[in-house]
């Protein structure tokens, strides 16, 4: 029931909105308005389509249909809605890691460090089979003990995912138990991401790289390929290698931009992913499944852009596939000479893809424990049409940095922030206050105001948090760290938020998760999670809250300002 007046904070994206309207092209924002009002039962997690006796709803205002045909009540429905999201998110992580492993084991690419890659693949296989018990050594004992007490330590795909998925099929599991199954599934996905990060390091090596961001990176002078969404890094590297030979430009949308020795300039962030096609400067797009709006196919057709899907039912040799993609891009470029180029000038430099190893984590830990900075904020997530694109991210980051809070970001959130110069090392002093700027100067080489820890599939944030815990010798729940999913959208982000909570980092999540129909589930996410993990998943129901108000609310927590009106504030130990 919310209509967003200003669609995007990104001027490059905004200039395409009237052009799309003139041409009668419907964009995500138009389709969102067409969907309004959205179904209130689905929004609150009170609907169910799990069997063919339904669909059922739990009607909040009617006694006759409080329960589904099978007897699911509002608490079961809401917590299962959350579980389904987490399952889908975890599948996304597992799918990515399995693609990557397949690319390496096919022998089509020689990893940089063969021994390490073999080790990483063995760990991934162990994770799938038995939950990789050896992996637990990477985590602090107290954390593992808390997870084991709750029964959420991953035990392998068959044991965790198959069982967890059956909780939505039937049975009499309580809301608590179902929630723990969701945590277990989320952790399995997070472990997979951590191992994928290890495999990426072994196969390609990791180092921060300077990339240019926003639609100005397109030049329209030669053939240009855009990689959409997540797919095998091996295929990405093959495409980049084949393109380099023929001087074809390869850029990306919603795809990991740093893959040594290649970079894929992020052309835009998730919310405006349809717009680069309207510049006319894209000749071919390669699309994965995750993070790709099906609408790009129709807009690509409108602008005569060739489309190649990476996942088809018939497998192909990667080298030949990559070469055919580049050849097709060149052909498309010739064929598309008559298409008008309309490229915005917006372009910003960003240093992306840091890892814990590139940072002096000890200095960061000292700054936090000694109170030199007020805390650390993790900015994560993609865009969501329910908010002005990028505005929540940018507002939060700017307000946090001004108030002495170190900001780290990951994935598409980094791309959103990079568009406004927050990832440009030259603009560090402009955005951050002295305490943060001093820390950034000391804690690494050429650090920008917001530190990007890579795309979520590489588990960079988890790596950083574990390093921080080791360096500070304090549990994460005792450190002033908050995570903010300011404009979340995909199920993978829900799984990620659950993992952060399980690790002891209280997490703000916008828009509100479809659990608001069940006060019990809401309470479990705050009270039970706080008891078990020392962190809460904070779901705000106020849809009209402005980004600045959100920033102020979170700053109150960092500044230890008690707010009795907010019952869901993360009153973690570090607040005392």
């Amino acid at each position: 029931m919310e209509f967003i007046q200003k669609k995007t904070a990104d001027n490059a994206a905004e200039q395409f909105l009237p052009k799309a309207a003139d041409k009668g092209i419907k964009l995500a924002w138009d389709r969102f308005e067409g969907q309004l009002p959205e179904c209130g039962f689905c929004e609150s997690g009170l609907s169910c389509r799990d069997c063919l006796q339904g669909p059922c709803i739990s009607h909040p205002f009617r006694d006759a249909n409080k329960m589904g045909v099978c007897g699911k009540d509002k608490d079961t429905l809401a917590v299962q809605t959350l579980l389904k999201l987490v399952l889908k998110g975890t599948m996304a992580s597992l799918d990515q890691v399995s693609d990557f492993v397949e690319g390496i084991t096919s022998g089509e690419m020689k990893p940089k460090n063969v021994a390490e890659a073999k080790k990483a693949i063995a760990s991934i296989e162990a994770l799938l089979a038995n939950g990789a018990p050896a992996l637990k050594k990477a985590f602090p004992k107290a954390l593992i003990a808390a997870w084991e007490e709750a029964g959420i330590c991953p035990q392998g795909v068959a044991k965790d995912l198959f069982k967890a998925s059956q909780k939505v099929e039937g049975g009499i599991a309580s809301a608590e138990e179902t929630l723990f199954w969701a945590f277990k599934a989320a952790l399995l996905g997070a472990f997979a991401q951590k191992l994928q990060g290890g495999l990426k390091k072994a196969a390609f090596g990791v180092a921060p790289a300077e990339v240019e961001v926003n639609m100005g990176v397109l030049n329209g002078k030669g053939a240009t390929i855009l990689l959409y969404g997540r797919f095998s890094p091996v295929l990405k590297a093959k495409i980049a290698a084949a393109a380099a030979k023929k001087k074809v430009t390869v850029a990306g949308v919603c795809t990991d931009p740093v893959l040594a020795p290649y970079t894929f300039a992020p052309v835009t962030s998730y919310g405006s992913q349809e717009l680069p096609l309207m510049t006319g400067a894209v000749d071919l797009i390669v699309t994965g499944d995750q993070f790709v709006n099906p609408s790009v196919a129709a807009i690509a057709a409108e602008y005569k852009v060739a489309v190649v899907a990476t996942e088809t039912l018939k497998g192909e040799k990667l080298d030949a596939f990559a070469k055919s993609i580049v050849d097709r891009a060149e052909e498309a470029f010739k064929f598309r000479r008559s298409v008008v180029r309309d490229i915005p000038e917006a372009k910003e430099t960003a240093l992306m893809g840091f890892s814990a190893a590139d940072l002096d984590v000890k200095k960061i830990a000292d700054a936090v424990t000694k109170g030199k900075i007020k805390g650390i904020a993790i900015l994560a997530g993609t865009n969501n049409v329910k908010f002005t694109q990028d505005l929540p991210f940018v507002t939060l980051a700017q307000e946090f940095l001004k108030d002495g809070i170190l900001c780290i970001s990951e994935g598409d959130a980094s791309v959103s922030l990079a568009k406004y110069g927050l990832l440009n090392p030259k603009q560090r002093e402009k955005h951050s206050n002295k305490a943060v700027a001093d820390l950034l100067k000391a804690a690494g080489k050429n650090l920008p105001a917001v530190i990007d820890l890579g795309y979520s599939e590489n588990g960079g944030v988890m790596e950083f948090l574990l390093a921080l815990e080791a360096a500070s010798k304090k549990a994460l729940r005792q450190l002033p760290i908050l995570a903010c999913f300011a404009e979340a959208n995909r199920s993978a982000e829900v799984a990620e938020a659950m993992t952060l909570v399980a690790m002891g980092v209280s997490t703000y999540f916008w828009p509100c998760l479809p659990v608001t129909g069940s006060p019990k589930t809401m309470e479990l996410l705050s009270k039970l999670c706080n008891e078990k993990f020392g962190a809460k998943l904070i779901v705000h129901t106020d849809k009209k809250m402005e980004p600045l108000a959100k920033a102020k609310m979170i700053l109150n927590v960092f500044n230890r300002v008690p707010d009795p009106s907010a019952t869901d504030h993360p009153w973690t130990d570090w607040k005392k």
Binding site: M1, P37, P60, F61, A64, T516, P519, T541
Partner: protein
């Protein structure tokens, strides 16, 4: 006089009208996430029961509820012709509930007042018609509605 027209071909029985009527009209918070948790729970003024057809007060020209009401609590707005309950004077005798041929007047035992649709007479447009995803509910002139001029 404008009344709500229900197109039974378009109604899918999705209950959205009930949900948002309950939230916007009947709840104290007027916010879905909070309204869901209100006790006693809000009572929507529109009903989708059994069949996909949203039923609310027809604001009958010869309204039996007006005749049955012993103390003038049930009233007709002389300007709009809409029938409404003047809540402060309701004595909860449920005569109106008994005589309504559609059964759309609900006895609210917790509040001790009769609850019925007033076609959102104090709002610009009825909320049920506004949220209906298929356009099954719309506001039309009663004379057109009678002559099926739609």
């Amino acid at each position: 006089m404008k009344v709500l027209m229900v197109d039974k071909e378009k109604c899918t029985g999705c209950h959205q009208c009930e949900l948002w009527c309950g939230t916007e009209i009947a709840s104290n918070s007027r916010e879905l996430a909070k309204a869901i948790n209100e006790e006693p729970h809000p009572v929507p003024r529109v009903y989708v029961e059994g069949k996909p057809f949203a039923l609310q007060c027809r604001h009958c020209e010869e309204a039996p509820c007006l005749d049955a009401c012993p103390n003038g609590t049930m009233r007709r707005d002389p300007e709009t012709g809409l029938v409404y309950v003047n809540e402060p004077t309701c004595i909860a005798c449920w005569m109106c509930v008994m005589v309504c041929p559609f059964g759309i007047i609900n006895p609210s035992s917790s509040m001790k007042v009769a609850i019925k649709c007033d076609r959102c007479r104090n709002m610009g447009y009825p909320i049920c018609a506004e949220v209906c995803p298929t356009g099954a509910l719309s506001l039309v002139e009663r004379k057109d509605y009678r002559q099926r001029k739609f």
